[in-house]
């Protein structure tokens, strides 16, 4: 047994075998370690990847809810159209990047090849519209107006059109009932972007690649309820995309319908009258600038005074909201947003702000009463008011002697308010007020009236307006003093002088600032919707409401109705006695004051109207016209930029809107049958059992009907040359229009 050497056991071999053994074990150890790393440490990550791997989503898009007017007439709904779309992924697989296919497609659709190419390129910083800002993996709509024949051509020759589909799809439509438009109120949709998808990924309402998102107006404000929830069925698929099982399925939930307080007929009347008023204004000669009024933009708000619900809201210039449907063309987009455009996308009722002119006196009057000045005190209405060498003139130098606050409001006497503001300025300590707060009644009251902040109307991007109080002046001076001090010269041009003054004491409340402010000139800015809230509150006894357009949300099946209730935001800081005085004054404006020449023959005993005109100066431009009015139930605010005086520019238009609401005929009689809305719409439209909403047909053009009914009205109508029963004042009207101030506006040219 021992004579045969155990050759396998020589030490060298043994050592090497141990080395092999250690090597083998360490290899296995490496595998174990790596396995642990992949499965235990990074396991969750890979699990996520695996589920993304084998799950395919099939999206069943939700039908977007309709936007309806107060009677159920659809302002925005959906229609089925033949949509031709192209898939970028498939196009890029072509050797020429799909150019030939697109050119061929353009031929079939009767479009220019270049236009088609533009539609499928992706948006980036350097690419202007039109371009696709949705997901590059989603089919891009080329047109939604394909004819059945075109669709058939594409489908039958699908091998010629790789990546191109022609399918019927629900497409947003803005039917514009009764020729109404409501473009800025409704807003528009555009495809969801990648970043939005990422952002909304983990919220309760995530976006799908195919979603369209509301970009402005009601479409944006109520996007979540209108959009509904797309149905998603998740299929487990194998590596070739074959379905091997259904993982999860959520049925599509159609978006809810939004009932608004808009009455499409009144809306039409408002839009038509605004447009007409602007056209007429452009034919009027402006003596101050020596040319016709430009009347380049305007807005109307018709609001229920007792609830804050918006019945009509029009903004001019306007556009056709249907241009957005199916992707906007380059030309259209430029016309809407380009530098040369008049920015029709802006809703000037909530995004346009201007100095309020004399319509601001409602605030100044309340401020005076708050500051302790008696209503019936005799306030001198002189022809001018001088302060330290500066002369602030009354309009056309008229004088009324000592009058009450109510009378001052009615005749719009500037000097009364100059005097009151000046007194208050002095009481507050003049240019350098003592420590301890100046009372600032005039500014405080403006804030109490809701100025300088959003009204909270249910539309996006409302602007705040501005109350030029001490805080604002300080902040504004801080932001601009460097520029002022650099360009300002003591003995330079007008602009340089102003800059010099501003540099020295622009942070302080100067005497002239407060005097100017008291009649709504200078740096004060308000929006039409703010005026609507204020005058609505005066009409309803002092309650401010948050304006609302949405009235109720009705689920697609009609079973769930969620009313949107009017919300009070506070009370005006005025007593009932003061309100009564104001009411009388504002009624006087209509019957014998600055607006009387436009409201001759109005059945004031049946339908009492109240109003206040305003004409605001804008540095370097023509004056902004304001007309703020209210009846028992409604507030109507109209403003037109660069259009002269409030009554002159908007008198007929506002009168016609009231005529339409109440059915007032040209001869002053009231025909209730023709009244569009003699009382605010109380209930909601009826809902059928299948969830559809009953709506009356709107035929014809309500605006033309109103116009026809006003034929007999001698003070009204298209023809300005009609003899007026109340002759207009020699220059426009008796308003707050003053001679150009010697000191000019404190605002610097933009």
């Amino acid at each position: 047994m021992t004579n045969i050497p155990e050759t396998g056991r020589t030490p060298r071999v043994q050592i090497r075998l141990v080395v092999i053994q250690i090597l083998v074990l360490s290899l296995l150890g490496t595998l174990g370690g790596r396995l642990w790393y992949l499965q235990i440490r990074e396991g969750a990550e890979y699990q996520k990847e695996a589920s993304g791997n084998h799950v395919q989503q099939v999206v069943d898009p939700a039908v977007r809810g309709d936007i309806l007017d107060a009677r159920g007439v659809p302002l925005a709904d959906n229609e089925t159209r033949l949509v031709v779309s192209a898939s970028r992924t498939d196009l890029l697989k072509q050797s020429d990047g799909g150019k030939a296919v697109l050119a061929k497609l353009a031929g079939v659709l009767g479009m220019k090849p270049a236009d088609v190419m533009q539609k499928v390129r992706l948006c980036d910083a350097k690419t202007p519209q039109p371009c696709w800002n949705g997901s590059p993996y989603q089919p891009i709509p080329i047109t939604d107006e394909a004819t059945a024949k075109q669709a058939l051509q594409i489908r039958e020759r699908s091998e010629d059109f790789p990546g191109v589909t022609a399918e019927p799809e629900a497409v947003r439509r803005y039917p514009g009932p009764g020729k109404s438009n409501s473009a800025q109120v409704l807003g528009y949709l555009s495809p969801v972007t990648d970043s939005e998808i990422q952002k909304a990924k983990d919220t309760d309402s995530p976006y799908l690649r195919s979603d369209m998102v509301g970009r402005s107006g009601l479409e944006r404000q109520y996007d979540k309820v209108l959009r509904g929830k797309a149905g998603v069925t998740r299929y487990e698929v194998d590596n070739l995309g074959r379905v091997i099982g259904k993982a999860k399925s959520d049925a599509a939930e159609s978006g809810s319908n939004l009932v608004t307080s808009i009455d499409s007929r009144v809306q039409r009347v408002a839009e038509y009258e605004l447009d007409k008023a602007m056209k007429i204004a452009r034919q009027q000669y402006d003596k101050i600038t020596g040319e016709n009024y430009k009347a380049d933009s305007g807005a109307v708000v018709v609001m229920e005074a007792k609830t804050g619900r918006i019945v009509a809201m029009a903004s001019a210039p306007t556009y056709d909201p249907n241009v957005w449907v199916g992707g906007i063309s380059a030309k259209d987009y430029k016309a809407l947003t380009g530098k040369d455009s008049d920015y029709p996308l802006l809703n000037r009722a909530i995004q346009g702000q201007a100095a309020p002119g004399s319509t601001f006196k409602v605030v100044s009057t309340a401020a005076a009463v708050q500051a302790g000045y008696p209503w019936d005190g005799g306030y001198p209405c002189t022809s001018s008011y001088s302060v330290g060498g500066q002369v602030f003139k009354n309009f056309e130098g008229e004088s009324f002697g000592a009058i009450s606050l109510g009378r001052a409001l009615e005749v719009s006497c500037d000097t009364v308010f100059y005097g009151l503001a000046d007194k208050e300025w002095k009481r507050d300590g003049g240019i350098n007020p003592k420590k301890g707060e100046p009372k600032d009644w005039f500014f405080k009251t403006a804030h109490q009236f809701g100025l300088g902040k959003e009204t909270g109307v249910d539309l996006p991007n409302e602007v705040t307006g501005r109350v030029p109080d001490r805080e604002w002046k300080q902040a504004y001076w801080k932001a601009n003093k460097n520029a002022w001090c650099k360009s300002g010269k003591k003995d330079g041009t007008y602009v340089e002088k102003i800059a010099y003054e501003n540099c020295l004491e622009g942070n302080k409340m100067r005497e002239g600032d407060e005097i100017n402010y008291s009649i709504g000139q200078g740096d004060t800015l308000v929006t039409p919707i703010q005026e609507a809230v204020i005058y609505g509150a005066v009409a309803n006894g002092g309650t401010k409401y948050q304006p609302t357009i949405g009235k109720a949300i009705i689920s697609a099946d009609g079973r769930t109705v969620t009313p949107i209730k009017p919300k009070k935001t506070g009370k005006l800081p005025v007593s009932q006695a003061t309100l009564k005085g104001m009411n009388d004054a504002f009624a006087g404006v209509i019957t014998r004051g600055t607006a009387a020449w436009k409201f001759g023959g109005w059945p004031q005993d049946k339908i009492a109207l109240h109003g206040k005109t305003g004409t605001a100066e804008v540095y370097g431009k023509q004056t902004t016209s304001w007309l703020a009015t209210y009846s028992k139930d409604y507030t109507v605010i109209m403003t037109i930029a660069q259009a002269g005086t409030g009554s002159g520019a908007s008198g007929e238009a506002v009168r016609n809107i009231y005529s339409a609401l109440y059915g007032v005929q040209g001869d002053g009689s009231v025909d209730k049958k023709k009244a569009l809305l003699p009382e605010p719409q109380k209930g909601l439209p009826k809902v059928r059992t299948d969830g559809t909403i009953v709506n009356p047909k709107v035929t014809g053009d309500p605006a033309k009907d109103v116009e026809a009914s006003q034929k007999d009205n001698t003070t009204n109508g298209d023809d300005q040359q009609d003899p007026a029963t109340t002759p207009p004042p020699t220059t426009g009207n008796r308003d707050t229009r003053r001679k150009p101030r010697k000191r000019g506006s404190r605002r610097m040219p933009a």
């Binding site: 141990v18 296995l28 992949l38 499965q39 396991g43 695996a50």
Partner: protein
């Protein structure tokens, strides 16, 4: 050798009758290495489940019969076990005499593959299809190369002439190995070439050949690789394919895809896996070649860390026991053969599992016992037979 029961070996202990004989201390059954046998059987059976899971839905492969691959795998296992029994019965020493014939036969088979009779599967011409059966001669070459080299290297040492194989013998053995490697390179079957190299290294190490040979071989290999890389002998895409295991983006549609999907499958398994037949990656057939080269991903996904770890553990048992057998063998021939088998199994297991885990390049090597494939199954079970034979015949030298 009495052929009475095929398990007993004559000249060893008194003959007993019946099952007591089997259980007796010296019986063949008692002397067999049971851990290695049980581990190998467990791996093969586990493999059958994984193969079934990977193929039951692949109608394009299984001809509509979900059990097609399962049954074939079990059949292969049966044949493999029979081959093992045959090998034990013959004994590795008897096979030693047959080595020239076996070597010649397997080289001949490999050469036939290069003729039009060979079949190309997955870009590699390494299949031989005979009457519905497909063979991979490369698998048999691994066994015969081990036997052939061991025979050359150990004969004179075992005869007591020399303490270690001399340079001439080593050179001869390398020439013996070079012929099949050249054939494999022509196929080209890179994976098998690498396995061969590992086997040669293992055999040389265990034979006690001079360090110079071992290191010389290693250095030649390294220089060769660097040369291939630096002299741009391979196209860039080939290098990318090779390197895609580390960075799947280098070959996203090819190897990178495999790597990626394999990693996702294994990673998603977590601790206990999705459950047998419940892996979505497996059911969805996202991992190509999942019943053969990528069978480990099925274990990773469906059985998780526990199941996949068990496979590594069982392979560890096989390798550990094989190392013991190599160390315990009293003759260099047995030691060298066992060490060659250790090198073979270890390299192939590490390479195969490593590529599914993304730490080794992707090559077409099966996982011993687990992967579907007849040739591989037969070869590894013959190897188990050789190991058993070395173990039971250990005292033969007495």
């Amino acid at each position: 050798m009495t052929g009475a029961n095929g398990f007993s070996v004559s000249g060893y202990g008194p003959e007993r009758a019946g099952w007591t004989r089997i259980l007796s201390r010296d019986s063949l059954a008692r002397r067999l290495d049971w851990p290695i046998l049980l581990a190998a059987t467990a791996l093969s059976l586990l493999g059958s489940l994984l193969v079934y899971s990977a193929t039951r839905n692949r109608t394009e492969l299984n001809q509509g019969d979900p059990y097609f691959f399962l049954l074939r795998h079990l059949m292969n296992l049966g044949i493999g076990i029979a081959l093992m029994i045959g090998t034990i019965w013959l004994g590795h020493r008897a096979l030693r005499n047959a080595v020239p014939i076996l070597y010649g036969l397997s080289v001949l088979l490999a050469l036939v593959v290069l003729t039009p009779l060979g079949a190309t599967i997955n870009g590699q011409r390494n299949w031989l299809v005979i009457g519905g059966f497909s063979l991979q001669p490369a698998e048999f070459l691994k066994v015969t190369i081990i036997l052939g080299m061991a025979m050359l290297l150990a004969t004179r040492v075992d005869a007591g002439d020399k303490p270690f194989p001399d340079h001439r013998t080593v050179f001869q053995s390398l020439c013996l190995a070079a012929v099949p490697i050249l054939i494999l390179l022509l196929m080209p079957d890179l994976g098998s070439v690498l396995a061969m190299v590992a086997i040669i290294l293992g055999v040389l190490l265990a034979s006690g050949a001079s360090n110079r040979w071992v290191f010389g071989l290693l250095i030649t290999g390294v220089i060769g690789c660097v040369a291939i890389w630096q002299l741009h002998i391979l196209d860039e895409y080939q290098i990318n394919r090779f390197a895609a295991f580390a960075n799947p983006d280098l070959d996203p549609a090819g190897v990178g895809y495999n790597t990626n999907q394999a990693r996702i499958a294994i990673g998603s398994g977590g601790l206990t896996g999705a459950g047998l037949f419940h892996g979505s990656q497996t059911t969805g057939q996202f991992v190509p070649e999942q019943q053969t080269d990528f069978v480990f991903t099925v274990a990773g996904e469906e059985l998780g860390f526990v199941g996949a770890g068990l496979i590594i553990l069982l392979l560890g048992v096989v390798l550990w026991r094989a190392c013991r057998i190599a160390r315990d063998s009293t003759e260099l021939y047995g030691t060298t053969v066992a060490a060659g088998i250790v090198a073979w199994f270890a390299f192939q297991a590490f390479e195969n599992i490593g590529m599914t885990l993304g730490i080794m390049p992707v090559t077409g090597l099966p996982l011993p016992f687990v992967s579907y494939g007849g040739s591989s199954m037969f070869a590894v079970w013959v190897a188990i037979g050789l190991l058993q034979s070395i173990k039971v015949q250990r005292p033969m030298s007495a």
